[in-house]
């Protein structure tokens, strides 16, 4: 089967973020980037499905030139080839604009199944996969914890709230958004890293995809959140801070 995995490159999890001069985004110059975590699980799931059913895994990524690093890592883990929609100013687009680009790149590939993470760790809109399915006119399901391929359809386990789950069947082709923790992530092997260098990365531009819809949802300003509570920071070395906390728990919170 032919699998496409849509991945995104985001700042690494422990990044110290600063608002940039425009006040509308963060300073990216001194940040390091990595694959969006739920997308790493989507990639892993695609690799496992290929190992089980045969076929091909294509990594698809919309992002600036720096995203090439994340794409190469996906190839090193086992993706067969990649498509990079290379654009420095993707932030001028909203979810719908980005999904249109992805749909434009996916269509000529006619995949059986498209996987992506359930949300991104940066914007966190959690809807690119769903919008992509709608644009392609194919069914979808979200927050998926298990994928079984049955001939021309799939049976998936969808996570509901409060520890509930549900199985859903749908015909292929389809889009699934994958929940973190669905599988155990693999590391790239030395051989994989070596092989990745010879794998194809097809570059597409916005002009080639012909999608330039103006964003309807725009971020006007980013800023540090206001605290909803006044936090008392307990100072001192570990022992002193611990002693202060125990005093608070005993005399103010009264649980000791």
């Amino acid at each position: 089967m032919k699998l496409i995995v849509a991945i995104k490159q985001v700042p690494i999890r422990d990044s110290q973020l600063r608002v940039d001069a425009s006040g509308r985004w963060i300073q990216e110059a001194d940040l390091s980037f990595e694959i969006n975590e739920p997308d790493a699980y989507a990639l892993e799931e695609a690799l496992r499905l290929k190992e089980k059913h045969g076929g091909e895994v294509v990594a698809l990524c919309a992002g600036p030139a720096r995203a090439a690093q994340t794409i190469r890592e996906a190839l090193a883990k086992g993706a067969d080839r990649a498509i990079h929609i290379e654009e420095e100013n993707l932030d001028a687009l909203d979810t719908l604009g980005v999904a249109k680009l992805l749909a434009g790149a996916v269509k000529p590939e006619s995949p059986d199944l498209i996987l992506t993470g359930l949300q991104s760790d940066d914007l966190g809109y959690g809807q690119t996969g769903v919008v992509l399915a709608e644009l392609l006119g194919i069914p979808h399901s979200t927050i998926i914890m298990q994928v079984k391929v049955l001939k021309s359809k799939i049976r998936v386990k969808r996570e509901l709230e409060d520890g509930w789950f549900q199985h859903i069947e749908m015909p292929l082709p389809a889009v699934l958004t994958i929940q973190s923790g669905i599988n155990k992530l693999r590391y790239a092997t030395l051989m994989g890293i070596k092989k990745a260098k010879t794998k194809e990365i097809k570059r597409l531009t916005l002009a080639e995809l012909g999608a330039a819809a103006a964003a309807t949802a725009t971020i006007e300003k980013v800023y540090l959140p206001q605290k909803s509570k006044q936090t008392q920071i307990l100072e001192g070395d570990a022992k002193a801070a611990a002693a202060k906390l125990v005093e608070k728990l005993k005399f103010e919170v009264r649980v000791l």
Binding site: L96, G124, Y125, S141, E159, D162, F165, P225, A238
Partner: protein, 325 residues
Amino acid sequence: MSVLVILEQQGGKWHRMSWETLAAGQQFASAMGQPVEAAVAGHSVGALAAEAASKKVAKVYAIEHELLKDYTADAYTAAIEALIRKINPALVLFPHTYQVRDFAPKLATRFSQVLVSDVISVRMEAGSPVFVRLLFQGKLNGDVRVSGPSPHFASLQAGAWRADQLESGSSAVETFTPSLDASRIRQKPEAPFRESARAVDLTAAEIIVSVGRGIKEKENISVVAELANALGAELAASRPICDAGWLPMERQVGSSGQTVAPKVYLAVGISGAIQHLVGMKGAKTIVAINKDANAPIFEVADYGIVGDLFEVVPALVAEVKKVKG
């Protein structure tokens, strides 16, 4: 034009977030100078719609069809799309539930719009809303404005508005029967299930010690377990810890795990991603121990210790033992 609030039910029971979303809808509508309407979709939802009509709303739509009995993204999108095309609201509000995450982005796409998801507050500027939402797992906030022809779409975060501010009233129910075609509903859902009976009920615990990514390795869980022991607390975790199998899933706190409100919640090495915060922000007292002073967990914490948990936690165990004797 109106503000349309989509209420959520399953098997004839309300989703708890429906009322807080309706309360928000009443407030937005009043600020925008528009009436608020509500809708609930399903099969035999007349009684639920009547209950919603006892709130201060201009009208309640019962979106009624046997193909809406079990939720599917395809049927719900088509049904709610049909209602929206009929009544043409300015703004459509949803509770940010797992179900809404599954279909509302698809619905918004049909109107060439983007769902502004997981909104935590709203500011009205000249009668039109500016939505505030979290970015970077809660490290930053972003103000989002929506343009283009209405309707616009937004989903509201759990607990961001209060159901007890809902105003009562009396209005009429109108039954709306969309035309749905079974052959166009591609998802075939089965009955929801739970993996196993929950052996651990975290909701009953007075004190919870919860551990996150900061613990680094499975072998280190014992460090935090010892603190839980000393305090007589239940041990819990954020999602990544349970995903990795370091603690069982039944000890997970957050949107996909348990929602808890203990007297004291000690978050150890937990950064405070929103999926975790919604599960514990109701705790009476929150204590955060984290090496990153900018971690979002400190935004909800009453007491904080900025430091290395591998130094702080053992020191805390020693102090607790001293006090408890």
